[in-house]
């Protein structure tokens, strides 16, 4: 058997798109004609199909822990496994880092929420989990190397994401007392804490925090004029800026 033919037979099996039985027939021949050695090889071939399936599951479960739990509650473990397989049919693996292969899952899940009758909050939960993963692993930016120096600026990992469910409080409730997060518009800020911690953080941003971040991006002075525009005291503005600096969301000199 030529290599091209071999790969043509075994490839779909490893990708979960051809049965073990059919692959055995293509690779080794009819079961009734297999030698004892071939019968053992045929049986053990199934191990590789299982391993590849496990890796597909792992690639999503590494990142989408809460989506996984919620879908398992809604559709059972089998439902989760079917969803994983369907995802990789639409978005085949392409990256050598396992978890990166889940980057299209939020988009995929958004479509599935309608088509498969899944709870609507899952599309936002997947986006949330993906951003948390990204924040954790995002490559270091030289601009963050001297956080106490230079102009006031955002840490390179800062990302504001709009959600219509209270995901932060729902995830942080270890007992997960409700099956779904409460509805409610909010902006979540993701960032990576400064060294030595360097862990991903996320919090619901207050309106004042959002306005300060906007002002920093637009290089608007954080002064009495801005405080007046935002209808807060200068003290409140200054205190909030200090909090953002301490958290590492803002870096640089005031």
């Amino acid at each position: 058997m030529r290599l091209a033919e071999f790969y043509g037979h075994v490839g779909p099996f490893l990708l979960g798109q051809r049965s073990h039985e059919e692959t055995v027939r293509l690779l080794y021949g009819s079961r009734s004609e297999l030698s004892p050695q071939q019968a053992q090889d045929a049986k053990r071939l199934e191990i590789y199909g299982q391993f590849c399936q496990i890796h597909r599951q792992e690639s999503l479960e590494l990142v989408f822990q809460y989506c996984h739990q919620a879908i398992e509650v809604h559709s059972g473990l089998d439902g989760w496994h079917k969803l994983v397989e369907a995802y990789f049919v639409c978005h085949p693996m392409s990256h050598f880092e396992l978890a990166q292969n889940g980057r299209h899952f939020p988009t995929f899940l958004a479509e599935q929420c309608e088509d498969a009758g899944l709870p609507g909050f899952l599309r936002e939960l997947a986006d949330f989990e993906w951003w948390e993963f990204q924040t954790n692993g995002q490559p270091d930016d030289p601009a963050d190397a001297t956080p106490a120096a230079g102009p006031l600026r955002l840490h390179s990992t800062v990302e504001l994401r709009p959600y219509s469910y209270a995901l932060v409080s729902w995830i942080d409730d270890d007992r997960r007392q409700s099956e779904a997060p409460a509805a409610g518009e909010n902006l979540v800020i993701f960032w990576r804490a400064p060294a030595p911690e360097l862990m991903p953080r996320r919090e619901v941003a207050t309106p004042l925090e959002v306005m300060i971040i906007k002002a920093v991006v637009e290089e608007v002075p954080l002064d009495l004029v801005l405080a007046a525009q935002l209808r807060v005291s200068l003290g409140e503005l200054t205190e909030t800026v200090a909090d953002l600096l301490e958290a590492g969301i803002l870096i640089g000199e005031l």
């Binding site: 290599l3 071999f6 790969y7 090889d41 085949p92 693996m93 050598f96 990166q100 954790n136 692993g137």
Partner: protein, 293 residues
């Protein structure tokens, strides 16, 4: 000149990376799986940096797919080149296997058919890989649970021919030899005696797991005595300390327990190499640093 790899090392794992960077116990080198580290910044990057600053390093990848039909992943090779350049490693390693099909990584190490065509194909890609990365490639004998159809060679001959045609160094995984010998019913000592020890740049030692009627290469330790016996045999035959790497990938215990395996490998190597050595094969103490315990 590249930083030489010598002595007994350990595979870097997230579970104990922080502790390893500051351990007072002896570790001579570390092996890094680039897929798990190179794309990340933040805490993971700091952990990697701390270990690279302290230890000589080998990049040991799992995604090369040297025997696959898909084009080599140039982004991945670039990442290996950057890492090996940063560590100034004398070589980098992967496995004699394939890990992509239909252009898609499957994130497993899959057995090739033992055919002449697979030998020629793999040897060609060794050259391509080395040209891209700019360092020698060293290839590991992998485990296999099934023989792929159409075999024209036995495993030992298949491995030897790839290494010879590709003019490539070998990473000899002693546990894999044991696992394959148990799963397929052959003599592991006879198999080891067929391995080209003059090409072996380092050894792997690890644990495994019995699942029903097949042993799975899980890298769950501790290493069992029959595998240590094969290690002893390999060093006796080589007549030199081949650098040795301890792997422990799942159900990872405390770092101390992992480093106990490192110490055990060192104890065995010291014991073996202080005795008269029968049947020297290859260059005893040929490479700088390799004979030093």
């Amino acid at each position: 000149m590249a930083v030489p790899i010598a002595g007994i090392g350990v595979g870097l794992r997230h579970a104990f990376a922080d502790e390893l960077a500051t351990t007072r116990r002896r570790v001579d080198f570390v092996e890094i799986t680039p897929e798990n580290w190179v794309t990340f910044g933040g805490r993971r990057r700091r952990r990697l940096d701390a270990c690279l600053e302290r230890f000589p390093c080998i990049a040991h990848s799992v995604s090369l797919s040297i025997g696959g039909l898909d084009p080599l992943d140039s982004e991945f090779l670039d990442a290996i080149a950057e890492l090996t350049s940063r560590c100034d490693s004398p070589f980098f390693s992967d496995h004699i296997c394939y890990s992509t099909v239909n252009g898609q990584p499957v994130h497993d190490l899959l057995p090739l058919p033992f055919t002449h065509e697979a030998v020629r194909h793999t040897a060609r890609r060794i050259k391509q890989t080395e040209a891209h990365v700019g360092r020698p490639l060293v290839l590991e004998n992998a485990t296999f649970y099934s023989h792929m159809p159409g075999a024209e060679l036995d495993e030992a001959t298949f491995l030897r021919q790839i290494l010879e045609q590709g003019d490539c160094g070998m990473l000899l995984d002693i546990n894999n030899v044991y696992v394959n010998s148990r799963n397929h019913g052959f003599d592991p000592y006879a198999f080891l005696d067929k391995m080209p020890l003059e090409r072996v740049r380092y050894l792997h030692m690890a644990g495994h797991t019995l699942r029903e009627d097949v042993i799975i290469d899980t890298h769950i330790g501790p290493i069992i005595d029959p595998v240590w016996a094969l290690y002893r045999h390999t060093l006796e035959r080589a007549g030199r300390l081949i650098p040795t790497l301890i792997e422990w990938d799942q159900d990872i215990p405390s770092l101390d327990e992992v480093l106990d395996e490192v110490d055990r490998a060192r104890d065995i190597a010291e014991e073996v190499l202080s005795q008269p050595l029968p049947g020297l094969v290859g260059p005893a103490a040929a490479r700088p640093g390799e004979a030093r315990l």
